[in-house]
Amino acid sequence: MRLLQKNIVPIVFIVLCTIGFHYSGLSWMFFANDLMTRLARNSFLVISLIIPVLAGMGLNFGIVLGAMAGQFAAFITVVYNLTGITGFFLACVLSIPFAVLFGWLTGILFNKAKGKEMITGLILGFFANGLYQLVCLIFIGWIIPISNKALLLPSGIGFVNTLDLKIWQYAIDKFYVFKLKGITTPLLKYLNNINFPVLTLIIVALLCTAVYLLFRTKLGQDFRAVGQNRHIAEVAGIKVDRVRIIAVIFSTVLAAWGQLIFLQNIGNVQVYGSHVQVGTFAVAALLIGGASVSKATIGQALLGTVLFHALFIVSPLAGKNIMGSAQVGEYFRVFVAYGVIGIALALHAWQRLTKKE
């Protein structure tokens, strides 16, 4: 009973997904393949949220800035035509300085707005998006010269809407499994038909291990201490503000890499759009996995990614089959994403109130 109560959110979503899957009429094979792809390309972004949650800063909507950092790095590789797997990893390296800078600034801002990090992060995302557009629309080609005019709008100023990333699309995803021959066991044969992006999965697994291990270090312990009670941590001599800034930097860098992994799978970047919903979608996924504003685990992040995207896959078709319109499913999906965030935040506020009583 307790177990059920504790995990009610993921359970509800498992039920929803099952129903949706049933009505969508999708084949298992298609569903599994699509889900695998989405898991590989999105989980990094969701995992990047864990550290700030444990450091007591709530859900870091500021990862949008991380996504922007990733995109800046991607632009550089496009402009200099850095291709293939080297190009991709170079993009990862190039994104670090941007992400560290953005994370540092975000962290400073969060320290000025302690206790209101989530709303601050959300607003910061909008604000940063404005600056981002300023850079991409006006500075590019004007202050920052670009020789390849094909990347620019006809006026010669500002990036075009969509930049092709074929140069390193599937840079890491293309390392599919072993399509083994001669397997007869039914289940294995079945699994053998799914495309596992092995390298991507390994990278995600490494990241999970790294986050897990991080919390066994001094820094991780400081994160947790600060997350429980800033005042007590400070009295114990922990440099609270610094620890919080580091947590945000970690999160932002991970989000930048997450965005790059996402882009290398998609194969192009919507200059003015790819990053916009990164924050809300990742947050919704984490919450669906059963995390809360103050507690999150790697398992929840992964489970949440699976459920959230399973819903993504099935809802348009299910909507069409049930209601006769794919739009309804689409609405439902967006409604769910924002609804989950809203409920989680309300629950959080309510819990804080009752704790005070």
Partner: protein, 533 residues
Amino acid sequence: MTGAARLEMKNISKQYYGNRVLKGLSFSVNKGEVLSLVGENGAGKSTLMNILFGMPVIHSTGGFDGEIFLDGEKANIKSPEEAMKLGIGMVHQEFMLLPGFTITENIKLNREITKDSLLSKIFGKPMKWLDLPAMKADARQSMDTIGLGIDEMLPVRGLPVGHMQFVEIARELDKKNIRLLVLDEPTAVLTESDADKLLEAMKILTGKGISILFISHRLDEVMAASDKIVVLRDGEQIAETRPSETTIDRIAELMVGRKIESGEMVGRPPSELKDDYILEIRDLSVAMPGERVKGVNLDVKRGEILGIGGLAGQGKIGIANGIMGLFPSDGDVKKNGKTIKLNAARASLDNAMAFVSEDRRGTGLLLDDSIEFNIVATAIQVQGKFLTPGKVRILDSQAMTGLATNMIQELDIRCTGPGQLTRRLSGGNQQKVCIARAIILEPNLLFVSEPTRGIDIGAKKLILDHLVKLNRDNGLTIVMTSSELAELRSICDRIAIVYQGKLEGILLPTDSDRDFGLMMAGEYHKFHGKEAV
């Protein structure tokens, strides 16, 4: 540097928002000495210690004036971190433990033992592994020093308050560079036997050359433990003396600035109270960790003041907590003949019962709200009082302020006015706010646990007198749980003694010390061979 005192504080002054709370204090402590600070609630003791420890609250409110010298060297302490580097340790008046961490993690907080990792070579300390086995061993060692026998890997959440206090002390003991230890009312949440253990531990420390600044409202402890006593009143240093040169009465007088007549017993003989029961408790069990109740039968007479006494851990604390629905409980409790629902805090409040918990640091003042709002908060929520009549009900702030002002006077809450934030009250005055909050509910049955813990001698009498007044004038029935026998005997009509989770017997305040001693130890019936009154 021979001859320099371990600590010298010179001409220390401090203002909070224009309110002068310390007015030029100077004193010194030598190596291995214990200096006690005594003074009324709000006299400035904690503030003085917060200055010494570089607490953020001091520096975010404009710092302080004066100089601090440690072993003859001027110390400029701006943060707790710097204080710790200088070898100053502090056990704060409010708990400084992280509930989600284990005891070990708390003891080693920010002083974790680490091992090199691959990344630590580049990024240094933050990337080192925690060495949990070594941390456990250290924690175990300091816990053993003070006789804290519980598992070092238990989470702090859910520990009884007494244990938490010892965990804090163990944490300070674990700091190897300590020269000076500040203990701000460490015994306030301890029972007398635990407090004795603590005083023993202090002796071990001073034996090692550590100097201790000790704050307590229990003057007998102060007399027993200190080398020097500094008396504060309203932020001024009234006297500096030694236990050999003074008496408890004299100190009390200095603190309060007037003579305190010792309270006589006001309990009434059994013949004055009718056998009319407001509360009948049958077979009550309460699963309160460390204070388990295992089948108590007890009747409370209408209009009496009933005391509940007993040694620590025997379950006396659990009874009120169980009836008020704060811990899981089982059994049959009837109020005015009607069974009340257990395990339902709200139901107890609706039944015109109120509770002042012994764990006031844990059960919630709204620190960022005003005194007046705190006093009426529960009344608003539970009874809808202090709201204007009509459909849209808003806070009737006039009524609220009037009532709060009244309570502030009655209980002598030292503050700048009813609108002051409770965060800005001294610890003892925060506790008075808790008591006021319960009284405002106008219950007909009031449970109070350890009502005078952490309250200065002068205010203590005031609070007990106020309870008696409520009882006599309004006919309020009071059940008071306390580990101070003297306090129980001064105002109770009957005193129930709890032993091993069960009612051992009921004594009158006039019964002999010996009877009380025997009953608390569970030996009474062997000697007397008869049921108690």
